[in-house]
Amino acid sequence: MQRISVQSEDFDVGAEYRRLCSDAPGAGAVATFCGLVRDYHDAGSSDAVRELQLEHYPGMTERCIGECLRQAQQRWKLLAVRVIHRVGSLRPGEQIVFVGVASHHRADALQAASFIMDSLKSEAPLWKKQCSSSGEEWIDIRDSDREALSRWSAAAE
């Protein structure tokens, strides 16, 4: 059981958690991750972010997230997975992304949630533009995000 949504509307973490539990009645573990818009991008920058614009490639985004989930299902024993990614205009403090995983054992749920976040960040066609008092700027992928994903391929060898 897996559900993927790319949407401009906000989501309710409590409701998503309850749905994972009902999608996976025998689960012993449910891990969730929620990403929120921070009010700065780089620790060194003093510019407060006023808005984040999230653009995506409709169709390909859902397909790429589906491929991340397929890989996660191959590596871990998962009972239910939920991914929501918001697009459009977001403000600091708002929810951007949700990953929820239900499994029998805790290591599967926690590792899969971590893997799904790492892979969708580098592989799903989504782009963030940050608007602050000093102007607008497209955000580049962080080196740490590239490294986060490459760790998983090393672990699989």
Binding site: G35, L54, E55, H56, Y57, G59, M60, T61, R63, H85, I96, V97, M117, L120, K121, S122, E123, A124, P125, L126, W127, K128, K129, W138, I139, D140, I141, D145
Partner: protein, 84 residues
């Protein structure tokens, strides 16, 4: 006919999000299509001189320079992903 999409910084640099293009004669790979577009469009050419790589997807799957292109394909150009 190719359906071409541009996203994010690529879309902004070109001033358009999509267009249709008659498959140019002799173009069968991503590298050949990119070569054709760089010759035909100065703004597209400048994108490839910049520090931010331009990625290509053919029919919604990321492709490298050797990726095959055929009439009717959906092609997209965009910068590295930064979602999540």
């Amino acid at each position: 006919m190719l359906q071409i999409h541009y996203f994010a910084s690529v879309r902004e640099a070109l001033g358009r999000g999509e267009e249709q293009l008659e498959l140019p004669a002799g173009v069968t790979t991503v590298a050949e299509l990119v070569g054709h577009l760089r010759e035909a469009d100065a703004a597209f050419d400048r994108l490839h001189e910049g520090s931010r790589p331009v990625l290509v997807a053919v029919n919604q799957v990321v492709a490298n320079r050797l990726g095959k292109i055929a009439d009717g394909d959906e092609i997209a150009f965009f910068p590295p992903m930064s979602g999540g």
